[in-house]
């Protein structure tokens, strides 16, 4: 009789667990770093989904009128306020940075060190300017408009907590991404990956993270600002 716990040739017990989990089998035929980045991004997808679903719930359950984002986020340059203008600029900046990142990945695989480095730096600068605009937006909302996580003058109290939670968590991702990109860009420049001979796939992995940050913004823009 063959018992699963003590299979022929394989150790049982905790030693068996280690043997099983460290068995040399590969499910995904991509570099391990890329597979792990995808799995991390999948888990991050669930975190952002939970925030957005939570926002949907409080917005549906609120009896007070929901503040109209088009007006709350309008900005005046001397004349009539233009609806959502800052958010639109931030959206275009993030898309631009996604484009420069895609080009950086491509240049990496072409072994063009200089272009890869500068495109990654450009991506990081665009990302940093996005965070800067977000800081401006938060300041305006908190100081001038009096929006707080527990209430605001324009409608349902839940608006502030949803807004600060969702955009804050996204802004944190952008900030972390800027640091990540600069670290990788610097290592591209000083030949760290060249010496290790690993084909600049790390640039693509960093790129996956950056595109994901842009991807999350697509959903935030649609559900929080436009809805």
């Amino acid at each position: 009789m063959s018992d699963a716990a003590t299979m022929d040739g394989l150790p049982g017990g905790t030693k068996g667990v280690v043997t099983d989990f460290s068995a040399d089998r590969q499910a995904f035929h991509v570099p391990w770093g890329k597979a792990m980045m995808w799995i991390f991004l999948l888990s991050d997808t669930f975190i952002f989904s939970c925030f957005l679903v939570g926002y949907m719930h409080v917005r549906m359950a609120a009896t007070d009128p929901w503040p109209f984002p088009s007006e709350v986020f309008a900005l005046s340059f001397g004349g009539d306020p233009i609806p959502l203008i800052l958010i639109a600029i931030m959206t275009f900046i993030l898309i631009t940075s996604s484009g420069t990142m895609a080009l950086a990945v491509n240049m990496g695989y072409r072994k063009n060190k200089k272009a890869t480095f500068w495109l990654m730096v450009a991506t990081a600068i665009l990302g940093a300017s996005f965070v800067g605009m977000q800081a401006f937006e938060w300041t305006k909302l908190i100081v001038d408009e009096g929006v707080r996580p527990w209430g605001n003058p324009f409608g349902a109290a839940q608006f502030g907590s949803s807004f600060f939670m969702i955009t804050g968590f996204h802004g944190m991702h952008v900030s972390a991404g800027v640091i990540y990109l600069l670290v990788v860009a610097n290592r591209v420049r000083n030949g760290f990956y060249e010496q290790r001979g690993d084909n600049y796939e790390i640039v693509e992995i960093a790129g996956l993270y950056w595109h994901f940050v842009d991807l999350v913004w697509v959903f935030i823009f649609a559900f929080f600002y436009l809805w």
């Binding site: 991509v30 669930f46 549906m60 359950a61 009128p65 991807l215 697509v218 649609a222 436009l226």
Partner: protein, 115 residues
């Protein structure tokens, strides 16, 4: 194996998608700018959102060129979020109705936004 040399594709496709993302973002901004309402608004917002998300994942993140195993492992699990959305939508309307029943309709008068 394609992934051994990494994801190498002609530059043209990136430029095309880049321009496309700009155009679609501009359209979704126009939805708000032109102040469309009701089903037109929500339909267009969702349409443009999924188009943008799809192109970012497929082209910029190279998912289009990955093997089916990786595609399924990453893209299938988020589908179950639909269940959470459905449950929380039911719960949300129930909470709202309960609040109206016990606390009455909202009497809040929102302030005008000043710029």
């Amino acid at each position: 194996m394609a992934s051994a040399e990494g994801q190498q594709h002609p530059l043209g496709i990136y430029y095309k998608i880049w321009v496309l993302l700009f155009v679609v973002s501009f359209f979704s901004y126009m939805v708000d700018y032109l102040n469309l309402q009701g089903m037109t608004r929500w339909g267009l917002i969702l349409l443009f959102m999924f188009v943008k998300a799809g192109f970012i994942i497929a082209i910029f993140m190279h998912m289009k060129w990955e093997r089916l195993g990786l595609k399924l492992a990453i893209l299938l699990p988020p589908v179950f979020i639909a269940v959470l959305i459905w449950l929380m939508a039911i719960e949300g309307s129930h909470t709202e109705l309960t609040r109206i029943e016990f606390f009455g309709e909202s009497t809040m008068v929102p302030e005008e936004v000043h710029h």
